[in-house]
């Protein structure tokens, strides 16, 4: 909902002449391609599109997209993006961050850009590790992760990016993973959302945290553990043999069997993207019997920050003349007449 002009491009138009410097096999390549495939479908204009990132492997992203790009400093990308968006609300801004960049050093800025609801797409590449600095545990690393800084296993309780985003006030939560064919759809929905759209993308760091998402994202045999949410559709997974229902006792979600497609009698919930309470539960679904909730978990727009700022400026300026000479002479003034002496 950003691009005022719709123009025609192809995937090729979004490729730069820079050598891509990720490790061969890194999940970042797949995400790059997904984005480059999505942008033409959005009618996006390279001249009006800006990719802003922090620091990390993931944050190298802007160099590889033929648009405007700003590779900033570690953790602060949301603040740069906020300034750029306020300065020019017509820009279509994509933010690229990592689990370290966005949730470790940059958690505060992420919270505030979500709270303020600055209109942009925020892609957090979650590989549950610090890639660029060679593999230390990140705030999303699972307990027990062995890394150079946690040689006998990490003991931090991992942060959950989507839970954090929702607690921070996000109005759009999407989820996907690097090689998923559905990723472009999630990106499109995020783009269509006017406001800050948060997308957690699980990404395989094949060097330092290989295949850590295999329980739901393995190329083969893990589809049954993916719950792809669709608005207005029942929450079914495992080839529609399982669904999510509300347990009236615990007031929490539970997995139910669906026999012969009769999800209604199994009490399976119909996904309402505007239901914040359910979004909380979907996001917090622990592992165990539960699937990984993917797709658009939550989407309930409210006024954006840049609109509010613009309106406020208009309201404040209404009927006022921007006469600097007058402004300078405002306040407690007096005049010295020219008789006393010549100007010095």
């Amino acid at each position: 909902m950003n691009a005022p002009v719709t123009i025609e491009t192809t995937l090729k138009d979004w490729e730069t002449d820079q050598e891509v410097r990720w490790c061969p096999g890194c999940g970042d390549y797949a995400i790059l391609k997904a984005v480059q495939r999505t942008l033409p479908q959005l009618g996006a204009d390279p001249a009006n599109t800006v990719f802003i990132s922090g620091i990390g492997c993931s944050s190298r992203f802007p160099y590889y997209i033929e648009s405007y790009g700003f590779h900033t400093i570690h953790g602060r990308a949301p603040a740069f993006a906020t300034g750029a968006k306020l300065a020019n609300p017509d820009l279509d801004i994509w933010l690229v961050t990592g689990d370290g960049d966005g949730l470790s050093i940059g958690g505060n800025h992420l919270m505030h850009v979500l709270r303020r609801n600055v209109n942009m797409q925020i892609m957090l590449f979650n590989n549950e590790i610090y890639g660029l600095t060679k593999g230390q545990a990140s705030p999303t690393s699972r307990e027990g992760t062995k890394s150079p800084s946690t040689p006998i296993g990490s003991y931090d309780h991992p942060a959950r990016p989507a839970a954090f985003a929702l607690g921070s006030g996000a109005r759009f939560i999407g989820r996907g993973f690097d090689v998923s064919k559905h990723l472009p759809d999630v990106l499109k929905a995020a783009h269509a959302h006017k406001g800050a759209a948060f997308i957690e993308i699980f990404q395989n760091c094949i060097v330092y945290n290989k295949d850590v998402f295999d329980d739901f994202a393995a190329p083969k045999g893990a589809e049954d553990r993916q719950l792809w949410l669709e608005n207005g559709k029942p929450m079914l997974f495992a080839k529609d043999t399982n669904g999510l229902a509300l347990n009236r006792e615990t007031l929490g979600l539970e997995v139910v069997d669906v026999v012969d497609g009769d999800w209604e009698s199994a009490g399976v919930i119909v996904h309402d993207v505007t239901n914040r309470s359910v979004a909380h539960m979907l996001i917090e679904m622990p592992f165990g019997p539960f699937p990984m909730a993917l797709g658009v978990l939550y989407d309930d727009p409210r006024p954006t920050f840049e609109d509010a700022v613009t309106e406020e400026r208009e309201r404040a300026s209404a009927g006022k003349e921007a006469n600097l000479a007058k402004l300078l002479g405002t306040g407690q003034t007096w005049t010295v007449s020219g008789t006393a002496q010549d100007p010095v």
Partner: protein, 644 residues
């Protein structure tokens, strides 16, 4: 009555050309308002003036306490005034705590006006007075004029049916009325102001007016001896034109607006509250119609990053803070230097280190401004010397930032930010515009976002410009394309280019503010020490000393002629409100034996302190106890001399 702005020897002279008045009371007593209105009336009377508001760190300290005292000092005269005055001639003390805290500053023989109604047992206790100083001999060396202002105020506002508590709120207006009478001032402007201020509460306006008039009448009618008499202060000779009073925070704000207009750019201001910098955020937040966006960020880091983001998108990014907040911006300033985007960073310095003394003034962030970054990260630094000077300096900062595509640090301080002085309102049309240039087409075959112009500046390319897509970032960039380039030669060249760009910024030659261009002693200052240095040098010259005042606006790069200029003096003395930071820059750059004269009490220099320091360089001049050219390398006052 003697004037503070003259040397003790002058004090015998009968026609003072300047007077220093300090209003002091509880923070609830409205002393800042009183001072502000007295300032206005002083300005309207055509006197030159300077003020120094000094308020407590607490928001609203418990009533009557020592730490809750709020004071406002004004120095005004019929000649040029540069400082708020060393020592008050008149001290208005609205309660015992105010007397206790401010008495030490009062000039011997000065006048105390006290409200006996507030000198209750309770208040005396809170001020840790064992006995009532108005009633014992402790104030013998001053003139004391004590009467029950509280009671007289209550009486004056009786017709308006206010309760005692509300009635007492007008005490400050009663006092102001008396002060207006003392200096033969018109009450009309204050009447007008009160009516405007309390438009929706005409009763309150009238009560205050009644109190003001009563105070005035008291002066006029009471049979008063000695000290209570009317003083006349003829107007100063000023250039004709429109004048106003202005604080440094206002001047910086207006200067930034003017600078953005001269650059033909909308301005984006990213700030985060901190004392004393917040005032700039507050001023600019009210100037939206001038194309100003103010953004109160989540912290100082986000504030500067948003400002850089806005500059990237084509506005003039500005950010502002004080010491601790500037420290947090360090990393992002480096990115601004690397990506070569325009940015103005205002530092309203306060006492440090760490949280330090938030409401006191100091000049101790100069090291941080000039040197305080990782990597070789050169950045221009300029400093305002007074509230009104801050206007021009802010414009200059905008000019350098946009013409050279660089972050610029503008140094001001707590004193400048809060102090007010008369300002001849400039005509914006008199300033030469420096419209920002955006590159909209490649200059040659290839788009080269880092190819520099003759000033060493790279082009500014706004996202949104068709066909000009490119990528920037904080990793070392190729000399022309701006692509990542780690190669040794390129880093060497880029380091050189960044350095050369800043060093070659066109900076006006250094002028001598007062005195000859060579001689025995150069007193070199920067920032808000201008006033006291100027007066001290003026007085020393009058005593026959070969001394000059040099005041540096461009801290980095320094004016090209400054080294030669300093070498034309036998001695160089650098008074600073820090432990000697600018002297490091001078010694490094020019290898001159610049000697520091430092003061870190959170208070501005006094003229007399500087005069005494200057005197040490001159044989036979009063103040030179040694009778020979002495070297100054001292901290003023230096109470630890014995302990070292």
């Amino acid at each position: 009555m003697a004037t503070a702005a003259t040397t003790p020897q002058d004090s015998a002279s009968s026609t003072p050309d300047a007077i220093v008045v300090r209003f002091a009371g509880d923070s609830g007593d409205g002393m800042q308002l009183t001072g502000g209105q007295f300032t206005l009336s002083t300005a309207l009377a055509g006197n030159d003036l300077a003020t120094f508001p000094d308020f407590p760190a607490e928001i609203r300290a418990p009533q009557g306490t020592l730490f809750g005292v709020s004071a406002f000092q004004i120095n005004f005269g019929s000649r040029q005034i540069n400082t708020a005055g060393d020592a008050p001639d008149v001290l208005v003390a609205m309660n015992p705590a105010a007397l206790k805290v401010n008495l030490a500053a009062l000039k011997p023989g000065g006048l105390i006006i006290a409200d006996t109604g507030a000198f209750t047992k309770r208040n005396l206790d809170k001020a840790h007075y064992e006995a009532n100083p108005l009633e014992d001999d402790s104030l013998a060396k001053y003139d004391v004029l004590a009467f029950d202002i509280s009671e007289k105020t209550i009486e004056a506002v009786k017709p308006f049916g206010l309760g005692n508590k509300d009635a007492l709120r007008s005490k400050n207006m009663w006092t102001l009325g008396l002060a207006l009478w003392m200096f033969g001032r018109s009450r009309q402007p204050i009447h007008d102001w009160l009516k405007a201020k309390f438009k929706s509460k005409p009763d309150i306006a009238d009560a205050n007016i009644a109190a003001l008039d009563a105070g005035h009448a008291f002066g006029e009618t009471a049979e008063l001896s000695g000290p209570m008499r009317q003083m006349e202060m003829p107007p100063v000779q000023s250039e004709p034109g429109l004048y106003r009073t202005i604080t440094g925070a206002e001047a910086v704000s207006l200067g930034l607006v003017a600078g953005a207009q001269l650059a033909e750019l909308p301005m984006f201001f990213g700030g985060y509250p901190i004392t004393p910098a917040s005032a700039i955020l507050h001023h600019l937040a009210r100037l939206k119609e001038y194309g100003v966006t103010t953004f109160q960020a989540e912290d100082e880091i986000a504030a500067i990053c948003a400002a850089i983001g806005a500059s990237y998108a084509g506005q003039l990014g500005v950010t502002s803070s004080s010491g601790p907040g500037i420290a947090l911006k360090t990393e992002a300033i480096g990115l601004g230097i690397m990506t070569e985007l325009p940015l103005v960073i205002v530092n309203s310095q306060r006492g440090g280190p760490s949280t330090g003394l938030p409401t006191k003034t100091e000049q101790s962030d100069l090291y941080q401004a000039v040197y305080g970054r990782n990597g070789d990260a050169p950045m221009p630094v300029i400093a305002a010397r007074s509230p009104s000077d801050a206007f021009e300096v802010a414009i200059e900062a905008c000019r350098i930032a946009t013409e050279y595509m660089t972050p610029v640090m503008l140094l001001t301080d707590g004193y400048i930010a809060n102090a007010a002085e008369p300002w001849k309102v400039p005509n914006p049309a008199d300033f030469t515009p420096f419209p920002a240039q955006f590159l909209t087409e490649p200059r040659g075959e290839q788009l080269l976002p880092y190819k520099r112009n003759e000033k060493g500046a790279r082009p500014w390319i706004k996202p949104g410009t068709p066909g000009m897509m490119h990528r920037i970032g904080g990793i070392e960039k190729h000399e022309e394309t701006g692509n990542i380039d780690y190669s040794p030669d390129n880093h060497q060249r880029m380091t050189d280019l960044r350095k050369a760009k800043v060093e070659n910024i066109a900076v006006p030659d250094q002028e001598v503010a007062l005195g000859e261009t060579s001689g025995t002693l150069a007193v070199v200052g920067w920032g808000s020490t201008y006033g006291p240095i100027h007066q001290a040098v003026r007085r020393s010259i009058a005593k026959g000393c070969s001394v000059s005042h040099i005041h540096v606006r461009h801290i980095w790069p320094l004016p090209k002629n400054l080294g030669e200029l300093l070498k034309a003096f036998d001695h160089v003395l650098v008074p600073e409100m820090n432990t000697g930071q600018f002297k490091t820059v001078l010694r490094d750059q020019f290898l001159v034996d610049a000697q520091p004269l430092t003061k870190t009490s959170g208070q501005p220099f006094q003229i007399a302190e500087l005069e005494a320091a200057i005197a040490k360089y001159f044989d036979g001049i009063e103040g030179n106890e040694g009778g020979e050219v002495a070297v100054n390398n001292q901290q003023l006052p230096s109470p630890l001399a014995e302990n070292d």
